[in-house]
Structure formats: structure tokens, C-alpha cells
Symmetry: C2
DNA sequence: TTAGATGCAAATAGTTTGCATTTGT
DNA sequence: ACAAATGCAAACTATTTGCATCTAA
């Protein structure tokens, strides 16, 4: 089985985890999802690709990826289900419209200095971040 | 019933919602909780204060407060339960240790300019934000 | 070879809903 | 007075667990 390994798959393997079919499939679904996806959608797409992969493994994989900071669960509007956000380079930024729940993504990086400052001041090692803004989008103003 | 109204209670009333016993109790529990609290803890403390308040009302209130940006659900470590974070002045910042799940809060405000820049560039009105960093705390390094 | 990961199905837990009743304004 | 909110309990849905089996390294 010699597919191209995505950088995240390498990260996974380097952290000492096996590159199983279930994990690689979930990873691929996440990576081709555009960045925001609910667990229900992951389940659906995974079993479209390979129906033999069980629900439990998908959840176990999502938990594993979360603990590795590969993804991050966040709330968009459903209270019952989180949305998983891929953390592309260990970070992610978006705006959530509190009226229509639209998600607007944006790029920035004023946080690099802040990261360094916090690492020094608080004696921590930071590997990623999520920045969410809440407000009204142009359509809802 | 003429208690002192907290600024958030005023905000609630001004948004056209009734100041019911259930809502004021949930608000008080949140405000005296230190800022991070799960729905289970809210339920527990609310019914310790007034056992006649039903579960459903607590959830309805948490949803209402979320939609008003009074609180924000976020994931700390359980995948099944979110943690509600009070948004003190419409924003909140913390670091989550991905090893021990400790939450470290910090102050900052380099985001004010970013907020203004985004409002202009993307034609949105922003009312709050949540900034989460992930990494290892001093005890886990 | 073997620790780690899986799939299944049943169990669990958290949240939501419908509706008759109550309450804030 | 009356729309809005409530409490109850049942219904629902998402997630987790235990365990025998399988598989990547």
C-alpha cells in the first residue's frame, strides 16, 4: 500500500500511531471537505468511501486527531453536534454570523508575536490556535 | 422582586427577553462560576439553588445566552459536553493544555485593531471573539 | 509477533420537543 | 391580558463501551 502520505499522515505516524485504513480515510475526508465539517458528515462520507469502516472508529479517530491538534471541534449553531475545523498550519480563523450562522474564513497572522510572548511569559509551548469572531455578516447588517 | 440587575441581565431585558427566575438563576450560576462551566455543572448548581427549575429551561437559556453572545460553547476535552465560557466584554482568551486539559486564561488586546480592520474589509459588524491556543502547559513540558 | 486498532451492537448520556400551565410586563 | 416562558416526561440523537477479531509495523 504505497500511496502518497499527506504531511498530516506523517505527523500521525511520527506520533506513534498506526496508519490504518480507517484513519487515512477519515483524514482524506477531512482534507477534501473544505475545512468545516460535522461528525455526521464525516460519518456519511467515510461510509460512502468504505462502508466497512465503523462509526466507533470514526469517533475514535476524530478524538485522536483532536488530541494531536490536527482538527479542533467548535460550535457553529447546532448545540448537539460540534463542527470539526482543520487546523491547516496549526491555526484557524473565522467569523461566525450570529444571525444566519454563515462562516467567513479569513487569513491573518498578527498572532505570531502574541504566541511567542505567551510562551515566554507563561512557560508554555503552543502548537496551534483557533480565533473565532462573532457578529453580523454583510447580508445580515 | 427588586434585586440588583447585573449588566448582563439588563442586556437580556433590553434585547426583549423576560427576566424570569430560571434565566436569572442560570445567569447567576454562570457569573459566579469563574468563567468556565459545563452544562452538567450548570444543571447541578441551578437545581441546588432552585430545584423547581427544569432541565429544559436551563438548556433553552444556555442557547439563548449563546445567541446573544453572553456565553460561548467550546470544547475542552469531553466530546460529549461543551464547556460554556462567559464572554466578559464580548471576548475571551485562554490556552488549553492538550495533555492535561488545564485551562490557562490570559489577558491581551492586540485584537482590537484586527477587529476594526476586518469590519472594514469584510463589511461585517463584530461583537465578540474567542481566542484559544493549544499546546503544553508548564507542568506538561 | 504483538500491541494497537477495528467493527459490531448494545448501552449510555446529553439534549430537545410537545403541550398544558404559569409568569413577567 | 396575553405573549412569552416554563416544567415535565417522553422521544431522540449522538457518542461511547466491551469484546472478540484483525492488522500495521
Amino acid at each position: 500500500m504505497s500511496e502518497e502520505l499527506s504531511p498530516r499522515a506523517v505527523r500521525l505516524r511520527d506520533a506513534g500511531h498506526k496508519l490504518t485504513n480507517a484513519r487515512l480515510t477519515v483524514l482524506d475526508v477531512l482534507e477534501t471537505s473544505g475545512g468545516h465539517i460535522t461528525s455526521a458528515e464525516v460519518l456519511e462520507r467515510v461510509s460512502a468511501v468504505d462502508p466497512s469502516i465503523g462509526r466507533a472508529s470514526v469517533f475514535r479517530t476524530l478524538d485522536l486527531f483532536t488530541s494531536l491538534s490536527i482538527i479542533r471541534p467548535t460550535y457553529i449553531h447546532t448545540s448537539l453536534t460540534p463542527t470539526y475545523v482543520l487546523l491547516p498550519d496549526g491555526h484557524h480563523h473565522h467569523i461566525i454570523c450570529t444571525n444566519c450562522n454563515r462562516v467567513i474564513e479569513f487569513e491573518e497572522c498578527a498572532l505570531d508575536k502574541m504566541t511567542q510572548e505567551l510562551e515566554t511569559r507563561l512557560h508554555v509551548r503552543l502548537t496551534g490556535h483557533l480565533l473565532e469572531f462573532y457578529g453580523l455578516c454583510d447580508r445580515c447588517l
